[in-house]
């Protein structure tokens, strides 16, 4: 079935000053090539830790994590990762920030400028190439960070709450925009959010996590056809999804 991410029985414990803090417990999660997968769960349940482990940033864990059919313990994974913070370099212009991954891998010279221009347009950054990050709105910063992530090596993209810090309206616009960009390119996206509506609107499948120590309670396939449009969010079917997800998350709280 072409699973590009396949996680089996992943557990992870942080040690804080001798104390053990179990963060992930027996996590099972998989993503098919070209799918949009969301991970949803309460704050502090271990979503970021899950992504950090997939990206190879956490060395100590139990279970197996396969990326592109290779065990990440022996083969450090190649993937794109966007942290919860945008991490734009304040002394670089937008364009210089965006091309950082190309610059680092020595591909800047051969980079297809035409293609780059198309992407800059698509990411709504045209005209701001020479602006500095502090001159951008929150949404634009986020799009710049997204485009930089886009230009990183690998067909798998991990996005850790990319819209978490945005106001409601900007967030909606960003969702509409992201869904369009993604439907154009069809890379595999793993997406963290704690916004149920956002998860349903964007995803092919939603993995629901419990409170810490995080484990996958259930996963819900979203059957809306593509391309998606926002009107799907005003339907009976959407409410059913929402109800199911809320129930899953809420029941967990009572435990």
């Amino acid at each position: 079935m072409g699973l590009v991410v396949d996680i089996k029985g992943l557990s992870k414990t942080y040690k804080i000053g001798g104390e053990k803090l179990p963060v992930l417990k027996e996590v099972y999660l998989s993503a098919g090539k070209g799918s949009f997968i969301s991970v949803i769960g309460p704050s502090g349940c271990g979503k970021s830790t899950l992504f950090r482990t997939i990206a190879g940033l956490e060395k100590e864990f139990s279970g197996t994590v396969m990326v592109n059919e290779q065990d990440i313990r022996s083969n450090p994974p190649r993937l794109a990762y966007m942290f919860q913070k945008d991490l734009l370099l304040p002394w670089r212009t937008v364009i210089k920030n965006i091309v950082l991954p190309l610059e680092l891998s020595g591909k800047l010279k051969e980079a297809d400028i035409k293609n780059l221009e198309v992407l800059i347009n698509e990411f709504g950054l045209a005209g701001f190439e020479n602006a500095y990050p502090h001159e951008l709105s929150g949404g634009m910063r986020q799009r710049a960070a997204l485009l930089r992530t886009w230009l990183m090596d690998g067909d798998i993209i991990l996005l850790d709450e990319p819209f978490g810090a945005l106001d409601a309206l900007t967030r909606i616009n960003m969702q509409d925009w992201l869904i369009k960009v993604w439907e154009n390119h069809r890379k595999t996206v793993l997406f963290i959010t704690h916004d149920i509506e956002e998860a349903v609107y964007l995803s092919d499948r939603i993995f629901v996590m419990s409170k810490r120590p995080g484990t996958i309670i259930d996963n819900v396939a979203i059957e809306f056809e593509r391309p998606r449009n926002r009107n799907m969010l005003y339907t009976e079917v959407f409410l059913e999804y929402k109800k199911r997800l809320v129930t899953l998350l809420k029941d967990d709280k009572l435990l």
């Binding site: 942290f83 991490l87 002394w91 670089r92 212009t93 950082l100 680092l104 020479n130 500095y132 990183m152």
Partner: protein, 256 residues
């Protein structure tokens, strides 16, 4: 806010002028002898009279300042980069660097003279000692202030150590580096003067000693005035360079 800034601009010259007038008036009324407290007008006359002499001594002092400052800059850069790269060097060197700052300069200055002679070398060394610490503190702090997540992002992008250093750590360190550099610049002239004070053939410090010994207090004040101007000059030179460097950010994207 705007009004506040505007008053800041004019309040300094006005307060300075008032202070000068009060000073001049007080000396006139109290008839203070020149060797105790010369009036500003007397200081100005002395400044004009000894100007060629002050310039000659100033040139020597500035030679020491510039050589010391630049040497400290190079030394700081090399040592900071090494300390950031090899943590063990940091652990070994850092305590000595702090201790070096606690030894009084007026003890070191004559010692250096005994060791390195009457020439400008011991003076340059004092300036190096004065400048090295603030520059290094700024640089090391700047070079190690990368957010852990940014380090991880660079790792995911498979950046090499030298790429991380030159493309991220060094540019990121610039604001803190310049803070240290400004402190060093402001103190560099005083450092040179102090070391000349102990003994020198030429320099603003030795001019200071001579004026004092001969009770030429007005000339002494004129000398101090030159020292202040030169110190400020060093400070603003660095501030200017910082501004210029930051402006140059605009044409970062030239190469592609």
């Amino acid at each position: 806010m705007k009004r506040f800034v505007n008053t800041g601009r004019i309040s300094l010259p006005i307060s300075f002028a008032i202070a000068l007038m009060v000073w001049e008036g007080a000396v006139y009324i109290l008839k203070t002898p020149d060797y105790l407290m010369p009036a500003p007008s007397r200081v100005f006359t002395a400044l004009v009279e000894s100007f060629p002499l002050l310039m000659r001594h100033g040139a020597v002092t500035m030679l020491e300042v510039i050589s010391g400052f630049l040497s400290a800059l190079i030394l700081s850069a090399v040592i900071s980069l090494l300390m950031v790269r090899y943590r063990i060097l940091y652990n070994i060197l850092w305590p000595y660097m702090v201790i070096s700052q606690t030894v009084p300069l007026y003890v070191l200055a004559p010692l250096f003279m005994v060791w390195f002679g009457f020439g400008i070398l011991p003076k340059v060394l004092i300036v190096v000692l004065v400048c090295f610490f603030p520059i290094t503190v700024g640089l090391v702090q700047g070079l190690t202030s990368t957010e852990p997540e940014l380090d991880e992002l660079l790792k995911i992008m498979r950046a090499t150590q030298s790429q991380i250093l030159w493309k991220v750590k060094v540019p990121q360190a610039m604001p803190q580096f310049f803070s240290g550099l400004k402190i060093a610049a402001a103190y560099s002239v005083t450092g040179a003067v102090l070391s000349e004070w102990v003994g020198a053939k030429e320099g603003l410090g030795i001019f200071l000693t001579r004026s004092m010994k001969t009770f030429k207090t007005a000339a002494l004040f004129a000398d101090v005035f030159i020292i202040i101007v030169l110190s400020l000059g060093m400070f603003f030179l660095v501030t200017y360079l910082e501004k210029k460097l930051i402006k140059r950010r605009t044409d970062f994207y030239e190469e592609s």
